[in-house]
Subunit: 200 residues, 2 copies
DNA sequence: GCAAATTAATGATTTATTCAAG
DNA sequence: CTTGAATAAATCATTAATTTGC
């Protein structure tokens, strides 16, 4: 198993991020003109920079810019304050800020530490997704039997290699009631067949 | 003992609120000026551009954005030539071009029609995904899918934390006759642009 | 107490789905 | 029905917490 994968750069494209739709529910209304258009080229910046290029030289990255994040290619580490603000916004209802919003948020959070737009974007994406998981997980615990049985039945396996990693379930002694939190990935039923065989 | 999560980002619960609707998606606006700056920063520049912000007034500003092609706010339509070239590259092995590659491809394809980086990016994403679907669908037509059932029964009790991670089981196709195994190998090696020796 | 070994979090990417224009 | 675009789900990869054995 050693999964090495240096991964390396290529970051840079942070393609889809824009747009927004904060409104969320009804449907994305496009209609109407809104000609808009934008077209702004770029979309991705060349970005040679660092990210640790294995090999080659690449200057040792002068650490003059320590900043706990960013530079060098390590990942970001939002400060507690930044996270607090983001959470506040999240609680306020923000889920998928659009480009301008991200820009502004970034500027604001920049006062508390290095940060850039994509960090904000990612944060919302991840936070939203993880809150959702958490919630789902919680909802299914209400009547969980003391004995957990995970059954993964993949009947559509075929010749592929299917792997399932990182299962983990834990018992947390929660005196109140018999809630045994069961943390795991949830049996995934990836379907190979499209839900609607015939078009949609 | 006890597992105290110092983190606990989970504040109460999110009542799932509809979030504030904002003007919302007019259309995708991307903006970012690539000029100089070489850090992938610049993700989006506020840059109004709207010409029609659905909400409220907002200063009209004077967007000097030309917006041609995209004019009309409709989606892109790659020209036949562009698609041909992209397919050629795809057949050549390119799957997920990095930022620089996209940049170059975009420049090249730009000779045949308006196009921008994200179009190239999306094209590869979609093409790859759809080719895969096609293959998958094809391959799993004739052969009885084995049914694998893994049952993990955790009858352990007590306040302990029990974990089980990194499961991985795989199916090795039995070379029975016409195993059209669609190996998802995805030869990524012959890139048209010698930029990065590897991509993930 | 401390540092290697684990484990939990979570930033960053990639893949799968969904939407809707044409 | 095809496919550009966007979003959500799943992963991967690091970093911070915690545990553990001196």
């Amino acid at each position: 198993m050693g999964n090495m994968k240096v991964h390396e750069l290529s970051r840079g494209l942070w393609e889809h991020e824009p747009s927004l739709s904060l409104a969320c529910n009804p449907l994305r209304t496009h209609n109407s003109n809104t000609l808009s258009s934008f077209h702004l080229k770029t979309f991705i910046t060349p970005k040679p920079t660092p990210t640790k290029l294995a090999s080659s030289d690449q200057q040792p990255h002068s650490p003059q810019v320590d900043m706990q994040a960013g530079a060098g290619g390590t990942r970001w580490n939002l400060t507690q304050e930044q996270i607090g603000i983001l959470e506040m916004m999240y609680r306020g209802g923000m889920r998928t800020p659009n480009a301008q919003q991200i820009e502004q948020i970034t500027v604001q959070l920049g006062k508390y530490g290095k940060i850039e737009g994509k960090n904000v974007f990612y944060w919302f994406q991840n936070h939203k997704a993880r809150e959702r998981q958490k919630q789902k997980r919680n909802s299914l615990v209400l009547n969980s039997p003391p004995i957990t049985t995970i059954t993964l039945n993949n009947s559509e396996d075929g010749p592929y290699k299917r792997k399932c990693r990182s299962w983990s379930f834990e018992y947390i002694e929660e005196e109140s009631g018999s809630s045994s939190s069961f943390k795991e990935e949830e049996t995934r039923t990836l379907e190979l067949f499209p839900l609607h065989p015939e078009g949609r």
